[in-house]
Point group: C2
Chain length 205, copies 2
DNA sequence: TGTACATCAGTGAACGCGCGTTCACTGATGTAC
DNA sequence: TGTACATCAGTGAACGCGCGTTCACTGATGTAC
């Protein structure tokens, strides 16, 4: 497991990590295969021993991101059990926590322009992440009388969209505007109002 | 006003339009100054008679987008008067309508990575757009008892985030996943539930 | 109406650059005997 | 334990490309007289 010498040891993962660092610092545009290779201490040509090319490297970064994302949300969901409400709220918080803690992965997943259907492993990881949120939404919506219950997938799409919007507009400094509120508060209060609208928490909670 | 010949006539605007077309087709990454010049029937060097460079051209495309965006939302707001609720809902719908109708502008504004503070004109246009939504939110929230009323800027931030999230995740085909619902329905139902949560529309509407 | 001239929007050639990708190679590693 | 050899992860040079930007120029346009 010597890191020095002609053979790297674990170049594949080192390249993914360099790519994540670059994507985080310079955005998906600023990322280059050559720079990632350089940061891993290796010639650009060496990358082709492990990946098909630039896009394939980004896709692997995104895949790893989705795996972590799904794990994190699953963990939050489990921890909130047996309360469906607690599980759901923890899952929502995990979304933002992930975006904050792993910005490189988040950007690779949602802003790099790579399709989630690029390869089966990536698609599977993304589906798993989506599944956790939908499960949490389904659990919670079972408490709503069936005739006024929205489909669980719509419910979770609302929360996903709100979370994503908060991340993109207020949790990143890119638009130049300082966010008016801490993103965590913004998301938490938004979800709170939404759940009240569904009758899932008391109006004067 | 002859379009042919040595002098173009209105090259500046032609370049902006070519840029918008390219941004729409290939994303902010795929856009190049040279290609925009070519599409406008002109040498790349000619661009420098009208813009400082590539970024400046994108910024102008975004500025025009913000102006249209603000106009559209202002029009929707006015049209919904005197009902605060109708005005607000129309404004929300205008958000999505803009994103759909002017994808090039939308991408230049929100996905190109250019800062809204890049130049004063751009900042002013963006502030005007934000102002319309905040006004609509403030009007509407006046109906909520003061002690349980969230700040209007938080209120409008929630709606902006939800709208933006719906656009990014479900109104574009980029993630590869077919959207589970029409984005318009998703946004309308999401806003409906949210407003119910604020007590602004009847629980069993 | 005609001529001289200033203006300035465009040309076209050139630049240096870093990119992604390919290729024949080399030398470190690990295994068979 | 030592030697021969297969494997294969990395090298380094080369490629063609299109990019953004600069520069001295040219020729169309419009105005003054």
């Amino acid at each position: 497991m010597s890191k020095r010498g002609y053979h790297h040891g674990n170049l594949r993962q080192a390249l993914v990590e360099a790519a994540l660092r670059l994507i985080e610092q310079r955005g998906p545009t600023g990322f280059t295969l050559s720079e990632a290779a350089k940061q891993a201490g290796v010639t650009p040509a060496a990358v082709y021993r492990h990946f098909e090319g630039r896009e394939d490297l980004i896709a692997e970064a995104a895949r790893q991101g989705y795996e972590m994302f799904a794990d994190l949300m699953q963990y939050a969901y489990d921890k909130g059990q047996p309360s469906a409400l607690a599980a759901f709220e923890a899952t929502g918080r995990a979304y933002l926590a992930f975006a904050r803690k792993y910005p490189g992965q988040y950007i690779a997943m949602f802003e790099s322009g790579i399709s989630v259907n690029r390869n089966p492993e990536l698609a599977a990881a993304a589906a798993r992440a989506r599944g956790v949120l939908e499960q949490a939404a389904a659990d919670l919506s079972r408490r709503i009388p069936p005739e006024k219950r929205p489909p669980a997938s719509m419910f979770s799409a609302h929360i996903w969209a709100l979370s994503h919007g908060v991340v993109e507009l207020f949790a990143r400094n890119s638009p130049g505007t300082a966010s008016p509120f801490p993103p965590e508060d913004l998301l938490e209060s938004g979800i709170g109002i939404y759940l009240r609208g569904l009758g899932l928490i008391a109006p004067d909670d």
